[in-house]
Amino acid sequence: DAGVTQSPTHLIKTRGQQVTLRCSPKSGHDTVSWYQQALGQGPQFIFQYYEEEERQRGNFPDRFSGHQFPNYSSELNVNALLLGDSALYLCASRRQGAVWNSPLHFGNGTRLTVT
């Protein structure tokens, strides 16, 4: 049973460019959250998707947007990249029917470097 899978694993972009990161949740999971983890920091919540809608959002600008597809997979898009967007982007999923505070299952992340 595959866990949460993310692609690509690494990405290098130039300031001002746009990037799309992808996530497939664990089988049986329908809720996907995205987190940004800067070096030496804890993960910071970007937003959460459930039933193809953004349900909650953290303190991130509108340059960060997302989407969830009918198969529960998700994308994170970041426009007009800044050097400060360099980080590990983590996708986390939660199983169907779980209570709202149940544990998250994280993917291996996408390491984004903006030069």
């Binding site: 993960p43 919540f45 983590l90 994280f106």
Partner: protein, 112 residues
């Protein structure tokens, strides 16, 4: 906004020594979760504490949730090299939010 603080930021121990990390929230938490992230890896769920004063054990790891549900600790007895990694505590944002607020973590290194 809600803050979750962890101390210490770094801890170096000799193999066999004990280790403790402390977590404090600026607000009362409905529950607290602990995650471990190995170097180069992703956070992996360890445990969730829900009840005031709750204590849970996993082999050499002991987790506590404070009576006021604002603090928590993780204690590792007789550390091993496999314990190396960063330990994060996380609590839900206020009001039943699904957003988890993570501390900055405690990075543990173990000298063999």
């Amino acid at each position: 906004g809600q803050q979750v603080m962890q101390i210490p930021q770094y801890q170096h121990v000799q193999e066999g020594e004990d280790f403790t990390t402390y977590c404090n929230s600026s607000t009362t938490l409905s529950n607290i979760q602990w995650y471990k992230q190995r170097p180069g890896g992703h956070p992996v769920f360890l445990i969730q504490l829900v009840k005031s004063g709750e204590v849970k054990k996993q082999k050499r790891l002991t987790f506590q949730f404070g009576e006021a549900k604002k603090n928590s600790s993780l204690h590792i007895t007789a550390t091993q090299t496999t314990d190396v990694g960063t330990y994060f505590c996380a609590g839900p944002n206020q009001g039943g939010s699904e957003k988890l607020v993570f501390g900055k973590g405690t990075k543990l290194t173990v000298n063999p």
